[in-house]
Symmetry: C2
Subunit: 367 residues, 2 copies
DNA sequence: CTGTTAGCGCCTTCAT
DNA sequence: ATGAAGGCGCTAACAG
């Protein structure tokens, strides 16, 4: 038998493998399983399984043999079989409204950072701000596809039966940002009301008299809290709240463009806009462009936004930035804890992180 | 037997279910399986399975009975069991360098749109521009966790064994943007070279003489093509290429900040910067801010970027925008085709989409 | 049209 | 320290 002197052992092993595999897997050498490995090593599949899972009841020598061959052949145990057997699959779902919003991308990045550390996989779902999509997505997650769910509600969502269903089935659940107060589950959020109040104050301090508030949702707690912060600031400055300055927007960008455009055309007295979401901020800018309302001079715009670039580009653009990356990390940590310690109840966990007001050249944190 | 007159049938069924379940599932009524359903309906589990999968060999009446009860009880078949049996799991992986780059978020949104349509699930992975992470992630995907992979290479990647391994195991694979020419697989990309040439020309037309080029990677085809486009434009204008104007950056933002900062301090002759990635564009802005180089006047910056807001905020900021959403859609469509028609080889598919130069008030497409 | 049977690949008692 | 056997929940082949 001629053998390449560089890697004789490898060659012999490969030969054995090919024999082993052709016996039971119809000559498909790209599919390999525990049994194949076991055959080559002259061990039972249970021993191989234990060795790969680093069980203490396997001799170190055997473990090394098994692990060495597995590594050499790039063997990966079939995750479906493993998950089925263990009723755990080291996979979580992240359900978010959309991802054009930079905030959500960063949160996801935070989640992924922790997940990679802990060897978890992430299934990602977008509701595109639609309640119906949210329901349908969560329904598909109710039966063991994932070990847990991190969720930020769609702007449309105002009933929570679909979420209670998940709780009934004991699926671990963590809310972030667009949280739900009606369901007992861990929450990670930010100081929306305080931040919105400070933001509004920032505009008042700059001399603005007629500050419009753009509401991204009438049902989302997040939007409601921000609206309340806006009202708080006005109250504190003894300014009467003018409801006609509060504009309820939709989840559709084109519709919002029309709404905001019509609004600003009618209301030439408005000298500032507080956009309660990044998308609304962007749309406001576009409207101002097309209406020829020069932003720094005629009108000031402030919004919740996570685009680091924005304040660098225009002196008038201040934004409230949430610690998105940390939100993701916190949410993931709570979720993994509640997955790994199912006997402990984490559903009263509430983590509130602080937002930051980013101006052109300075940064200050809210108190 | 006292029965709530509102929902008598439902109640009876629930009772049956509880009996059925308590017999074999240890009183865990939140876990339900085909067998439980079958028992309640007095059918075999295979019939129920077929009914749920809408098989033509089941009577319409039975189908309706089964589907009605399944819906009522929110029954979802266990995906692991199903995937294990079918050796298909209606799940794909999307592997991207990072997601702070708006481009990648939009691509993912495009992919998700198609995936939702077709009932596929998306596992998402970030390499954070690290070759080692890319290798490790792809290794975990080699054994049936997913039906296919959509991949954009990390900036560090310059060897492709880990990808060839996937091809050997017949995992359907589609590259986008950061594609790989050394592996036979479908590719979706954009006209990088032409776009970079037009962008550079744009700067030359604006009177710039010393245009620096920031390279985001020395190995990525994308970066190489953009660099070549930059050189093409200079050549066409009979300007000699000055290699000292080409700055190789890294995957680390802080390092890049230092590199660019040092560079611009030394080279006061530079009057424009062409950033070959969104991150580099952002960093350049930050450097200019801190060095007091007013962007519109002393220096012009142009870059590949997908932030819609940018050109609205600063007249000097033009950017080359790739059709990210469509790239995602195209990539997903090719992948699903190659999953669903495994006998057809799609590996020579190459789709090239066009980029757009976005200036403050006008938009033009490259020819 | 429906039921019976036999795995998919892994892990986990139980036995040795 | 290792092996044998059974089953996680579903589906497909084979019967009827």
């Amino acid at each position: 038998m001629q053998v390449n002197t560089n890697k004789p052992i490898l060659l012999v092993k490969r030969t054995l493998i090919n024999i082993a595999i052709s016996e039971n897997s119809e000559n498909i050498p790209n599919k390999m399983n525990l049994k194949d490995l076991a055959k080559v090593l002259n061990l039972s599949s249970s021993t191989v399984s234990r060795a790969l899972n680093d069980s203490h009841e396997i001799s170190i020598k055997t473990k090394q043999r098994v692990q060495a061959l597995a590594k050499e052949l790039n063997f990966e145990p079939n995750p479906n079989a493993s998950s089925l057997r263990k009723q755990k699959n080291k996979t979580i779902a992240v359900v978010v409204p959309d991802i054009t919003n930079h905030f959500f991308s960063k949160v996801i990045e935070g989640i992924e950072t922790i997940a990679q550390d802990k060897g978890y996989h992430i299934l990602i779902y977008f509701t595109f701000e639609s309640y119906a999509k949210e329901v349908s997505i969560l329904k598909h997650l109710s039966n063991g596809r994932v070990d847990g769910i991190i969720l930020s509600l769609s702007a449309e969502t105002n009933t929570y039966e679909h979420i209670k269903e998940l709780k009934e089935r004991k699926v671990p659940l963590v809310f972030f940002d667009r949280i739900c107060e009606d369901v007992e589950a861990a929450r990670v959020t930010t100081d929306n009301q305080i931040a919105a109040k400070s933001g509004t104050k920032h505009l008042l301090d700059a001399g603005c008299k007629k500050i419009a508030f753009l509401n991204f949702s009438t049902s989302s707690v997040t939007s409601i809290q921000r609206r309340q912060g806006y009202i708080d600031a006005l109250n504190q400055n003894k300014i009467e709240v003018d409801n006609s300055l509060i504009l309820d927007c939709t989840t559709n960008k084109d519709e919002n463009y029309q709404l905001i455009s019509n609004f600003l055309m009618k209301r030439s007295d408005v000298d500032a806009v507080f956009a309660s979401s990044e998308n609304l901020g962007t749309t406001t800018y576009q409207v101002c462009e097309s209406l020829g309302l020069s932003i720094p001079n005629k009108i000031k715009v402030l919004g919740f936004s996570n685009m680091a670039l924005a304040p660098l580009l225009n002196p008038s653009f201040s934004c409230i930035t949430q610690p998105a990356f940390d939100i993701g990390k916190e949410a993931a940590q709570v979720l993994f804890k509640s997955i790994e310690k199912p006997n402990i109840d984490y559903s009263d966990t509430k983590i509130i992180l602080k937002s930051t007001l980013v101006e052109r050249k300075s940064t200050k944190q809210f108190v």
